[in-house]
């Protein structure tokens, strides 16, 4: 115990000393948002990334946030719940009236940020952006498609988004182990559903549980092969709900078939330690961040393979992909940020958020701190070894320690600045593999539409019960406790619960979205 305490003490000292000692400080006089000698404080809600919370307890311990504070002159008091309690914590803060100035990860607000503005929790950023966030304003007004995604249809702007310079390639793939393919005598990675079926059969015969389906029973890659997306999507301008489409029944039929044959793990609903099971060769495939899987395989001495999106036939054109759809990211953890209505210095809050869209801020968020975790050699950014190994912090954790991987910033693609990809050329290459799939687009993708108060009320009222019902039924269909013969009853039940009302609400919001053009 004593040794541990000592160890902790040394650690703390090291962390405390490091930024000051090791690097040439950049001048903060041009970046400060408050005059020299003064300090300002903002309170910020920012859940602690699960990869980091085993190592630190306050975001202010990270060099990234210390540097951000130095550059902006703004001190931040973080409220950082663990990820498993983040949504409840946010709800509590909102209802208590003790709302932090800034809420990072604002998609936790169940009704959406636009509704949050209407509910009076968040402010409309539109009046502030041109003056206090000129760089962000420039980015979102640079392109019609970015504008539509980053704004709400009536001219309101409810949130800051992470906006990419160039599209980010898909990061989740169904992964395989070369060794397992060799073992079962398969030479090519599967391309069609039939290929997968054949592979699974061989895996099962070899004593491997072939497939760990996602715990909720939805795998967008297989759903996409049936020409749809889960939940709401649009086809030729018409909003649809995936789970009642005929294609979805085919998906469920396939999954049930695989479950019954033993291809899908019996534990998929309550899965745990999947990474380990894959590493030990106990399961054949699962959906996984491809680079993480690859690098882990490298370290452990096996080869991880990426796979193309599954298709019914090799020449099938897939339309479900969402990665290419927009430069505006709205599904990543930290990439969606709002300012609360109780914030007493909204101008400062907006300026602070805008900082990550200015040159020094973009450098900081995307790369980190020069001299500490990266250096520039011949004009090229290169990470220093600490970026992969520092103080026993997990590698993924370091992406939130020296830099802010998912920050709402003007972001470079992972292929440019993600440490895990830059570990080796192979790691980058495997992320890019299949990214140039010619038979793939995002035609079915439903953009970031914003519902007005009535539409939100309708959607929430109707979908709360429908979601619960559908999610349960999907699992039951797959496991077989509900026979697929009852599909029609299922569809009519969902429709009877008022699905059309929700669809109408979504449709009108979608139509408004499409009519939205850049403000003067």
């Amino acid at each position: 115990m004593k040794r541990i305490c000592l160890f902790l003490l040394v650690l703390t000292l090291l962390v405390a000393c490091m930024p000051a000692g090791a690097l040439a400080e950049t001048d903060a006089s041009s970046t400060r948002l408050v005059p020299e000698g003064e300090t300002a404080t903002l309170t910020v809600f920012c859940p602690m990334d699960a990869n980091l919370q085993d190592y630190i307890s306050d975001w202010n311990e990270t060099p990234y946030n210390q540097e951000l504070e130095r550059l902006t002159g703004v001190h931040v008091e973080f409220i950082s719940p663990t990820t498993s309690a983040a949504a409840e914590t946010l709800n509590m803060l909102l209802v208590s009236g003790d709302i932090p100035d800034i809420i990072i990860n604002a998609q936790l607000y169940a009704d959406g940020t636009y509704q949050g503005v209407l509910d009076g929790y968040f402010i409309d950023l539109a009046p502030y952006l041109p003056d206090y966030a000129p760089e962000y304003w420039e980015v979102i007004t640079s392109d019609e498609s970015i504008w539509r995604e980053a704004t709400d249809s009536d001219g309101t702007i409810s949130a800051f988004y992470r906006i990419f310079h160039t599209p980010n390639p898909a990061w989740m793939r169904l992964v395989l182990k070369q060794e397992v393919l060799d073992q079962v005598g398969v030479t090519e990675v599967p391309a069609t559903i039939d290929d997968w079926d054949a592979l699974f059969e061989k895996m099962l015969a070899a004593g491997i549980t072939p497939y760990m389906l996602a715990a909720d029973g939805y795998e967008e890659k297989f759903i996409g092969a049936f020409g749809l997306r889960e939940d709401f999507y649009q086809e030729d301008g018409q909003v649809k709900y995936g789970q009642v489409q005929d294609g979805f029944r085919e998906y469920l039929t396939l999954m049930h078939d695989w479950y019954a044959k033993g291809y899908i793990s019996k534990d998929f609903i309550s899965q745990s330690n999947v990474d380990t099971m894959f590493a030990l060769g106990e399961i054949g495939t699962y959906d996984k961040p491809i680079v993480a899987a690859y690098n882990f395989g490298e370290a452990e001495g096996y080869t991880v393979l990426s796979t193309p999106y599954p298709r019914q036939t090799e020449d099938q054109f897939l339309h479900w992909d969402g990665y290419q759809a927009s430069l505006v990211s709205k599904d990543l953890n930290y990439g969606m940020v709002v300012v609360s209505s109780t914030c007493e210095q909204p101008e400062l809050a907006v300026q602070w958020l805008n900082f990550l869209y200015t040159e020094p801020g973009i450098e900081l968020a995307n790369w980190g701190i020069e001299g500490l975790n990266y250096e520039i050699v011949d004009g090229v950014h290169q990470y220093l070894p600490v970026m992969w190994d520092y103080n026993g912090i997990s590698q993924e954790g370091l992406n939130y320690y020296f830099k802010m991987h998912n920050a709402a910033s003007h972001a470079y693609s992972d292929t440019v600045c993600h440490a895990n990809l830059l570990k080796s050329p192979e790691a980058t290459a495997i992320r890019m593999l299949y990214d140039d799939d010619p038979l793939l687009d995002s035609a079915l993708y439903l953009p970031n539409i914003s519902l007005n108060a009535d539409e939100t009320e309708t959607k929430t009222r109707v979908m709360s019960d429908i979601d619960t019902y559908v999610d349960e039924m999907v699992l039951k269909f797959i496991v077989g406790t509900e026979p697929l013969d009852n599909w029609d009853t299922f569809v009519s039940t969902v429709e009877g619960m008022g699905l059309q009302e929700a669809l109408d609400a979504m449709q009108s919001a979608y139509d408004r979205y499409m009519a939205n053009t850049i403000a003067e």
Binding site: N51, S84, S96
Partner: protein, 290 residues
Amino acid sequence: MIEKRDLPQRSLTALNYAIITLVALLCLYPCIHVLAASFSDPVRLIRHRGALLWPTGYSLRGYQTVFNNPNILIGYGNTLFYVLVGTAINIVLTSLGAYALARRGWPLRKLFVFLFVFTMYFNVGIIPTFMLVKGLGMLNTRWAIVLPVAINTWNLIVMRTSFAGVPDELQESAYLDGASDLRILCQIYVPVCKATMAVMLLFYAVEHWNSWFTSMIYLTDTGLYPLQMFVRDILLFDGAAGTTEDANAIYLKELTKYAVIVVSIVPILVVYPFVQKFFVKGVMLGSVKG
């Protein structure tokens, strides 16, 4: 007592012993399993199937991970605070209430017993209670964890019953000596009923030690979280699943779970045997109707 030990009777006895022993083993086994697992080698543990009576391989890495986790230490500290302060408040308020309710001849006794016991069977539900705590300005403070549970009515009734058993003469003579009620409580009732007090202490302390739900709904600052919240995170959520590519994080996850269980229940199991002999008294008293 004369008993004819014929064969059926004897086999009945044997069967009885066998079943009881089996139940006891079932109660004991998970604890042994957890203890053994927590000292195991991480990879061998994951591959291990079936019962575990002894560590498979040996490693302390689970415990290292747990003690290197700053949140665990923060949680430990907070839990200690909640247990100490919370239990102190519990015991003081419960004794005061029990003394009054045990007071013979006091005319309003029945009324107050009813008003208190009523709350055991009727509560307004978590939402209004949440709003009440909010209205009191206690959200995200340590008070929200200790004050709303300041008295457990069941414990209050137990203590009252115990106090009611104190002989009248002790009380009367103290009165004649001019002792105040508060003094009588401290110097007569508490020492006389020390077995009950010990059990109450344990009950309250364990309640605080194990509590997590109130922290989840009343606390937003993780710096105030008790241990159980972090334990819950580690045991029931695969938080870091997905993006991590760290062998340590991946392989150690299972081992860490067991280590954190041990770390979180050891303090209770250490105190428990000392208080255990008083249990019968404590629980028995509670069964007497209010």
